[in-house]
Every structure is written in structure tokens, then in C-alpha cells.
């Protein structure tokens, strides 16, 4: 039964647009799916490989601007941003990996934190290429209705989920977790840690970038403050995974559901709505104190990155 859970959820989501939900609810669902993709992508690097990044806004923003610049300068559909992302974000990840992945632990986190900010400031100032703080706007959005956006992000999310599942049950997945648990031991067991950390970063970066390119198409407007911010993107990404459960398949999805709904709810509260970041901070502290493995992780009590087939079938 549990084996078919992803299929059931996927099928359930497929019929959601037929239910004639309000445009606002569809918007929330699309955001949940988009955040699931970003969370799952971060989870590859931060959860499984153990390289905590505070700069995923860089990848998200690069993806969004790839789509935006293709539309604005080359005057082709911003949807080309999604395939273009694969190339651009791989290149970015290789550069970032070469510089940052030689650092460990907190130093890596700090380097990525700087990366996000560097990208934001650079984008603000490269006015010829990016329009700076004026941002890029798509004059005619592809669809007024949200149905197709929903299906597109649903398929991206399902594809990401499947890809991670395949990766984590292969040699790559074992290597990622080995690197997280003990980098020196992994190295002496014949794992080229630099190489596999770079692969992990590329996977994570490309998937985050795809979510960014989708965001450009869906929202129709981006500027550096929207796609490169430290709090709204980088930190929220970490929170999505921490709340849901790092290094679990469902953690980022559960985290995305909770975080998006919570953000909407808190923002609509009178008086304290503007302080939603403060409230998120309090939530993060509570999560770290009481459910350090996240909701999915501590529900299982044991953080088991690999489930043996025997157990799953019994």
C-alpha cells in the first residue's frame, strides 16, 4: 500500500483542476508544488550529501533570469528557459562547486550565503542585461487560467521526485550519504568526494533553476528582490526541508505544504502579519529543539536514508 502512495497522490493531484477550485486555491497549490521542487532539490545537496547551502536563491534566480533574458533579449518564449536552465545551471554549479566545495561544514554554508547575495547585487547592477531593479516582465502570459501551469509544475515535481528516488537507490545515492556521514572515511573507501559532491550540487542546482524558470513563466514578472532574496528564497528553502524532514523523500513535500499555507495564513493575520519572518524564526527554533529530523523524519523515529526492500514489502 505504502509503495503506491506516490502514485495515489499523483493521480489525486491530476484531477484537482477538474474540481473547479477558485483561482486563489490553485495559486496556492502551484506554489506548494514549486516549493516542493525547490525543497527536493535542496535536499539532494543539503539533506543527502550533507552540504548545507544558504544560497539556493542563486540557483533559483539564475533559472528565473535565464527564462527572463531569453524572452526579453532573444524574444522567444520564456518556456525555453526550462531546457536552457539545464545547461546554464550546470555551468554555474560547476563554477560554484569548484570554488565552494573545497570548504566544509559551516564554511561551505557561509560561502553559499555570500553567493546568493553576490548574485542579487550583480543582477541589480547589470542593467543592460537584466533591467536591474526595474525587473523583467512578460507582457502576455501564456495562459490566463491556472490549469496548465498547475499541470506543468505537477509534472516537474513528479519528475523530480522520481529522479531523486532513482538516484538515491543507485551507487550515487550511497556515495552521497557516505560523504555526509564521514567525508574522510568515504575518501579512503575509494569515493572521489570532490567529484560526487559536484554531481550533487549540479543536480540540486539544475532542479532549483528549473523551478526558477517556471516561476518566471508563471508570475510573469521578476526583479532581483523577488528571486534572489536571502530570506524569502534561501532561508525558506532550508526551512521547507527542515520542517518536513531532511534526507527523506516526502520531507520537502510535507514541508512545502506546511510552509506555504502557514505563510499565507500568517500574512493575512492583522497586526502581526507583517512579522511573518519573525514567526518563521520561532518555528524553526521549535523544530530544531523538538523534532530535529523534521515531521517526516521523526515520525519514522529513525532517519533511514535507504529502505530495505524486505521491510518495505512486509
Amino acid at each position: 500500500m505504502k509503495k503506491y502512495l506516490p502514485h495515489i497522490i499523483f493521480a489525486g493531484l491530476c484531477v484537482v483542476p477538474l474540481m473547479n477550485l477558485s483561482s486563489y486555491i490553485m495559486h496556492i497549490l502551484i506554489l506548494v508544488l514549486m516549493w516542493s521542487v525547490i525543497g527536493m532539490a535542496w535536499n539532494i545537496l543539503g539533506g543527502y550529501t550533507g552540504q548545507v547551502s544558504f544560497g539556493h536563491a542563486a540557483f533559483f534566480g539564475f533559472g528565473a533570469y535565464t527564462a527572463g533574458i531569453l524572452y526579453y533579449h532573444l524574444e522567444i518564449s520564456a518556456w525555453w528557459g526550462i531546457p536552457a536552465c539545464v545547461v546554464i545551471l550546470t555551468a554555474l554549479s560547476l563554477v560554484v562547486g569548484y570554488i565552494c566545495l573545497r570548504l566544509r561544514g559551516a564554511y561551505f554554508a557561509l560561502a553559499t550565503l555570500a553567493l546568493g547575495e553576490i548574485c542579487r547585487v550583480t543582477t541589480e547592477n547589470l542593467v543592460d542585461l537584466t533591467q536591474g531593479n526595474m525587473g523583467i516582465m512578460i507582457r502576455e502570459r501564456t495562459w490566463i487560467d491556472k490549469t496548465w501551469y498547475f499541470y506543468i509544475i505537477l509534472f516537474i515535481a513528479a519528475g523530480t521526485f522520481l529522479l531523486i528516488k532513482i538516484v538515491m537507490e543507485s551507487k550515487l545515492g550511497y556515495y552521497f550519504v557516505a560523504i555526509r556521514e564521514d567525508q574522510d572515511a568515504a575518501e579512503s573507501l575509494g569515493i572521489d568526494t570532490t567529484f560526487y559532491k559536484t554531481i550533487s550540487l549540479c543536480l540540486s542546482g539544475v532542479l532549483t533553476g528549473i523551478a526558477g524558470a517556471f516561476f518566471m513563466n508563471y508570475m510573469g514578472y521578476i526583479d532581483p528582490g523577488v528571486v534572489f532574496p536571502l530570506y524569502d528564497i534561501s532561508i525558506t528553502t532550508v526551512m521547507v526541508v527542515m520542517v518536513g524532514g531532511a534526507a527523506t523523500y516526502w520531507g520537502p513535500v510535507v514541508g512545502a505544504v506546511i510552509m506555504v499555507f502557514l505563510a499565507e495564513e500568517i500574512r493575512s493575520l492583522p497586526y502581526i502579519g507583517a512579522a511573518h519572518m519573525t514567526i518563521f524564526g520561532v518555528i524553526l527554533i521549535l523544530i530544531i529543539l523538538f523534532v530535529p529530523n523534521g515531521i517526516v523524519g521523526d515520525y519514522k523515529k529513525l532517519l533511514k536514508p535507504f529502505k530495505r526492500k524486505k521491510e518495505a514489502s512486509s
Partner: protein, 241 residues
């Protein structure tokens, strides 16, 4: 025939000389013991052979080829596996997953890696613990898991760093059996660091003694047992204590 040749290796950390001009040879199919008082440079020697450190001076040769500038994972591919003095299991992975992760180096599919791993775990007597998370294993089993992981990479040479430390007498006897089986059944050459004199005398063919980073003696266990320099530097201390 020499598998590993350590040639005039020196290693300095800042002004501190951890190893000074150490040379020795590890022959095929032998068990070579590396002993010395605390701080003599034994683990540093391992780290140099294994590729974690580059020697300040001198070379390490593997089958006649210079390997002193290669990284540990490359050496592992060339057939040099090691265990750590302070055991370093991949904690939040099960025992079996620990071994599978290291078996992947010479296997293509997961099924194949799993087969190799189960065989190695049986060899080291861990078959009953395959689904236990490795941080939950007692020390004796964790030491064996270290050996199992090293064996799963199908090495030609295995470097054992204090594989006996902290074990009780029963566990020591089991461990001695495993070490001897590694040579007789798998034909793997062993370089072993050990503090436990009874063990090292029992398992080694030859012994190299380090003191303050220098080689002070080399020979068969009985020669070493009677060498006055060694007794003064090392055994004597233990006898008087």
C-alpha cells in the same frame, strides 16, 4: 616481491617532524607489524601511505610506481584499503549499507554490490547485524565493520590501524582469527599498527619499530623482542609499568 616500498619518507607539520627518513618494504603476502610508543608517527605513516598526507620528503612506491601524490580514493582504486584507529562508520546507515557503499568501487550494479557485501559481512561475522544502524553497534563489531568495509573494496593491501584497541580478550581472539583469515583465504597483504604486544607478536611475520618518527629497528617478532634499543624505547616501559 615488494608491494609497497616506503623510501626515505619524512613528514613535517610546521616545525614538528612527525616522521624522519623512514624506509621499509612491505612484501607480498606478509603481515608486517608497525609498532612504537604513542606519538611515534605510526598513524602519520599510514596517512602518508594512504594519501591523506603528502610526504615532505621521500616517496611511497606501489608495485614500483610512485603514488605519494595521489588522493586516497585513487589509492583505494589501486588496491590499498585502510581502517581507522578511531572507528568511523557511516553512522546513520545500516551495517549492510556501509559495506555496500564501499563495494560499489568495483561493482556495477547494486545487486552485485549487495552480494559482495553479504559475503564480506559473513567473513567478518557480522551477518546477524546487517540491518542495524552502525552507530548502534558495540565497539568490537564496529572494528569488524571497519575491516568489512575495507575488504569490500577488494584490496590487494589492507592497512589496519589499531584494529584491536579497546577489545576484550574474547573479541581479540576473534579478531586475530579474522586477520589471519584475510591473508590465508583472501591472499591480501596486511600492514598493521598495534599497541597490544601479545597480538602483534602473534600475528606479524616481521615488525618495524618507530620511535619519535624514526625507524629504530626491523626484524622478526623474536628479534624485536630481544632488541635492546626496542626494549628501552618501548617494551621496557611497559615492563616497568
Amino acid at each position: 616481491m615488494s608491494l609497497i616500498e616506503v623510501k626515505n619518507v619524512s613528514k613535517q607539520f610546521g616545525g614538528l617532524a612527525a616522521l624522519t627518513d623512514v624506509s621499509f618494504v612491505l612484501n607480498k603476502d606478509e603481515i608486517l607489524g608497525l609498532i612504537g610508543p604513542n606519538g611515534a608517527g605510526k598513524t602519520t605513516m599510514f596517512n602518508v601511505i594512504n594519501g591523506f598526507y603528502r610526504p615532505t620528503k621521500g616517496d611511497v612506491l606501489l608495485n614500483g610506481k610512485r603514488v605519494s601524490n595521489l588522493r586516497p580514493h585513487v589509492l583505494c582504486k589501486l588496491g590499498v584499503a585502510r581502517t581507522f584507529q578511531v572507528v568511523r562508520p557511516l553512522q546513520r546507515m545500516s551495517t549492510l549499507d556501509n559495506v555496500i557503499a564501499s563495494a560499489f568501487i568495483r561493482t556495477k550494479s547494486k545487486a552485485e554490490a549487495e552480494k559482495v557485501s553479504l559475503e564480506v559481512l559473513q567473513f567478518t561475522g557480522l551477518s546477524d547485524d546487517i540491518n542495524v544502524l552502525s552507530k548502534g553497534l558495540p565497539l568490537g563489531k564496529r572494528k569488524r565493520l571497519e575491516i568489512a568495509r575495507a575488504l569490500a573494496t577488494r584490496p590487494e593491501i589492507i592497512l589496519l590501524d589499531e584494529a584491536f584497541a579497546g577489545l576484550n580478550p574474547t573479541e581479540i581472539n576473534e579478531q586475530i582469527e579474522i586477520v589471519q583469515k584475510i591473508r590465508t583465504e583472501k591472499g591480501i597483504t596486511i600492514l598493521i599498527i598495534e599497541h597490544h604486544m601479545k597480538v602483534i607478536m602473534a600475528v606479524s611475520d616481521r615488525i618495524v619499530v618507530l620511535n619519535y618518527g624514526q625507524k629504530i629497528a626491523e626484524g622478526t617478532p623474536s628479534e624485536i623482542g630481544h632488541n635492546p634499543v626496542v626494549i628501552e624505547a618501548y617494551l621496557g616501559e611497559e615492563q616497568s609499568a
